[in-house]
């Protein structure tokens, strides 16, 4: 089913088809301040980040109560970067989404522009 949070439906489908370890690799890199070096994956990750935090000019707001969900134990058992809106409310998922944008957007733009 289409998810309006994504700038492209095709990206949602591709991101959701990626494995937990592939998602984790993206997050590991940006936590070190490094972009994902494969441009296609970098753009895909950027689309995921924008699904979570909203694209520039249309940032998404989450209710403060959403932070309470952070303590759910399933966070250790499941792929919380899978694009599921129930995971995107977590503050640390949003923090990592901002890191993805901060690392990948300048990297991507420097390739062509």
């Amino acid at each position: 089913m289409s998810d309006q949070r994504w700038v492209r439906e095709a990206s949602r489908v591709t991101w959701e088809a990626m494995s937990r370890s592939e998602h984790a690799a993206v997050v590991r890199a940006v936590r070190k301040g490094e972009p994902t070096r494969d441009p296609t994956t970098a753009l895909l990750a950027l689309h995921w980040a924008w699904a979570v935090i909203g694209p520039p000019g249309a940032r998404r707001r989450y209710p403060w109560q959403a932070a309470l969900l952070d303590v759910r134990p399933t966070a250790f058992l499941t792929d919380i970067y899978d694009g599921d809106p129930r995971n995107d409310v977590r503050t640390y998922v949003r923090r990592d989404a901002r890191r993805v944008e901060a690392a990948n957007l300048p990297f991507l733009e420097s390739l062509d522009t």
Partner: protein, 166 residues
């Protein structure tokens, strides 16, 4: 060392273009890179298709009905972008190019912002563009500026069509 001087964007109606605008070399680099990316590299400008050579040799005529934006740093042209005359109320952005030595410095952002402002000033309801799918950096830039992928109006494979409502 890379030139760190400020980059400014100059707007030129097509008919006001001159050789001093430095557009030719930028367009040449754009077309040579694009042909290479399409898997049909050519050795030099002379081997480009006629329509592209015409743009490079005589941009004043090729873009007579269009508005050309040139980014300048000091006396040098370091980036360009063309906004076509509107068709169906929608101008089209094309030929966005930044000299590789100036990439990552906001040249294309400046050009794209100026192009959107120009399109809005001219009363257009939307602005559109097409971009090769492998140009992920340009796509990210366009999406940052609010362009969204739309139904394709061009039958060429791997061409992504995008539009931004103004």
């Amino acid at each position: 060392m890379t030139d760190q001087r400020e980059v400014s964007v100059v707007r030129r109606p097509g008919q006001a273009l001159s050789a001093e605008d430095g557009l030719g070399p930028l367009l040449a680099a754009y077309h040579l890179r694009t042909e290479a990316e399409k898997g049909a590299p050519v050795a030099d400008v002379d081997a480009l298709p006629d329509r592209y050579r015409a743009e490079i040799s005589d941009p004043r005529t090729a873009f007579a009905d269009d508005v050309v934006l040139v980014a300048r740093s000091g006396g040098a042209a370091v980036g360009c972008l063309v906004v076509t005359a509107p068709a169906d109320g929608r101008p089209e952005i094309k030929r966005l190019w930044t000299d590789p030595a100036y990439r990552g410095r906001g040249v294309a952002s400046g050009l794209l912002g100026a192009a959107i402002a120009h399109a809005a000033e001219s009363g257009a309801g939307a602005v559109r563009l097409s971009v090769w799918s492998w140009r992920t950096g340009a796509i990210a830039l366009y999406e940052r500026f609010g362009f969204v992928v739309t139904e394709s109006w061009d039958e060429r494979d791997q061409l992504v069509c995008m539009e931004r409502v103004l």
